[in-house]
């Protein structure tokens, strides 16, 4: 980290245009256009590249991390959502939701090596080098596929629950945790036998997980509930719940394990949450509709896939520790003001609709995207 408390590091000047307040310094390094609906990101530290799963484009964008530009696009199956890189074999894996497969890419040649069939609608994956295993959450299949990272053979298909997706692994306890979006639950398995050893009911829309093994804790994002659950991994119970920004969907643990980063799809921000105090330390603005998030272990920079902007943000979190005051979300300047005039096409009729169609009525404009 480059700054201590409120003091700014001159190497990273923080201007008024790029901060929320004086207690939450951050720096935007780059925002790089990629394919449509980018979701998962994996960083190749040795080659200084990032691989970005662009689910609506059915390809992986390869980003040069020195030039900050896309240098290749690799075709995958339909709707690659999550992605991971196994350093030992140099293989990149994508969970191709609409093809019910995992595409395997050679990170050196940037060519597809093979595709592995898995369960219905794979939407999350995690690889564990110590176990030489790749775990894939199959949302429609309600299962978890376990694949050998070296032989690429499926060694087990384990029953999970509807919406199985994100997977977390605690190597020290030998626990594999499958998070189920639709069921709003998590299944806990013994990593050796795949026997279920526990189950938790969680908040609505559970969709991401991060593990801090030395504390025996897991952080699980509940997107619709708008919270992060803290789970005691020894007791397998929820011990705390923290609110974040609007519609949190992505999570990663910082390399120092003192904080986690949570993307807020509904707010275009990245929340920094303290691991020990479970408080929100800051919110860093990123692109529109952020989702996947990873940290580059080389320099600690944070990569965020912005589904709405079709970009990847690279930002630096300059907080050395918890700031002296909590960050307060700024209210929209539009509150209390008149809605500006609009004229938009009605999807059902093709007609232009304007404010006048709802004159003298109370109503809600719900901005949404189908991804």
């Amino acid at each position: 980290m480059a700054a201590t408390g409120e003091r700014e590091d001159p190497a990273f000047p923080v201007g008024a245009a790029c901060r929320i307040d004086s207690r939450s310094p951050w720096r935007q390094v780059a925002e790089i256009p990629v394919g449509l609906d980018p979701e998962g990101i994996a960083v190749d530290v040795a080659r200084r590249r990032a691989f970005v799963a662009c689910s609506r484009s059915d390809f992986v964008s390869v980003v040069d991390l020195d030039k900050h530009e896309v240098v290749a696009e690799i075709q995958t199956g339909a709707e690659p959502i999550d992605i991971g890189l196994d350093v030992q074999t140099g293989r990149v894996f994508t969970a191709d939701a609409h093809s019910d497969q995992v595409t395997v890419i050679d990170s050196a040649t940037l060519e597809v090596e093979t595709a592995l069939p898995v369960g219905g609608y794979p939407s999350g994956l995690t690889h564990v080098p110590e176990f030489r295993r790749l775990y894939v959450g199959n949302s429609l299949g309600s299962t978890m596929s376990v694949i050998d990272l070296d032989t690429l053979e499926t060694v087990a298909t384990v029953d999970a629950e509807p919406g199985a997706g994100a997977i977390g692994v605690d190597p020290t306890r030998g626990l594999v945790i499958c998070v189920n979006f639709v069921a709003a639950s998590a299944n806990f398995y013994d990593a050796g036998s795949f026997e279920e050893v526990g189950r938790l009911e969680l908040g609505t829309g559970t969709c991401a997980i991060g593990i801090v093994p030395e504390r025996g804790e897991a952080f699980i994002v509940n997107s619709i509930a708008g919270t992060v659950s803290l789970v005691d991994l020894d007791a397998i119970e929820v011990v705390d719940e923290t609110r974040t920004g609007q519609a949190p969907v992505g999570l990663t643990v910082a390399p120092a394990h003192d904080r986690i980063y949570v993307t807020n799809r509904g707010a275009g921000t990245l929340s920094v949450l303290g691991v020990a105090d479970r408080q929100e330390w800051s919110q860093i603005p990123v692109g529109n509709g952020p989702g996947g998030v990873v940290v580059d272990p080389y320099d600690g920079r944070i990569f965020v896939a912005n589904a709405g902007s079709q970009t990847v943000s690279i930002v630096e979190d300059l907080l050395a520790a918890k700031p002296p005051a909590q960050v307060v979300e700024e209210a929209s300047p539009w509150l209390g003001n008149k809605l500006p005039s609009f004229a938009l096409e009605d999807y059902r009729t093709g007609e232009r609709r304007t404010n006048r169609d709802w004159a003298e009525k109370k109503y809600i404009l719900n901005f949404f995207a189908s991804w």
Binding site: A267, T269, Q310, Y363, F367
Partner: protein, 90 residues
Amino acid sequence: MREGARSGLEVVLVDIWEGTEPRPEVERFCEMWGIKGPILLDPAGELATTLGVRGVPTNVVVDSDGTIRAFGAARLDELEQAIDDLYGRA
């Protein structure tokens, strides 16, 4: 959205940021979730940009005189509170 419908408020969906032709995507989305009611298309996100929308979902609660009373309100409890406030309920 369920809360909005329950209160008698009309909920107007605005589709943004598809990055591609929105109609097939909206059709698939509506079928999947059984969505009825008006849907407006803002493919370039012009209204969203004007209002400073930076994520989805974002709810903008509009009073009968056109005044914006709540902005964001992605969580159910926030939306319930915004609707209660709109109707002057304690």
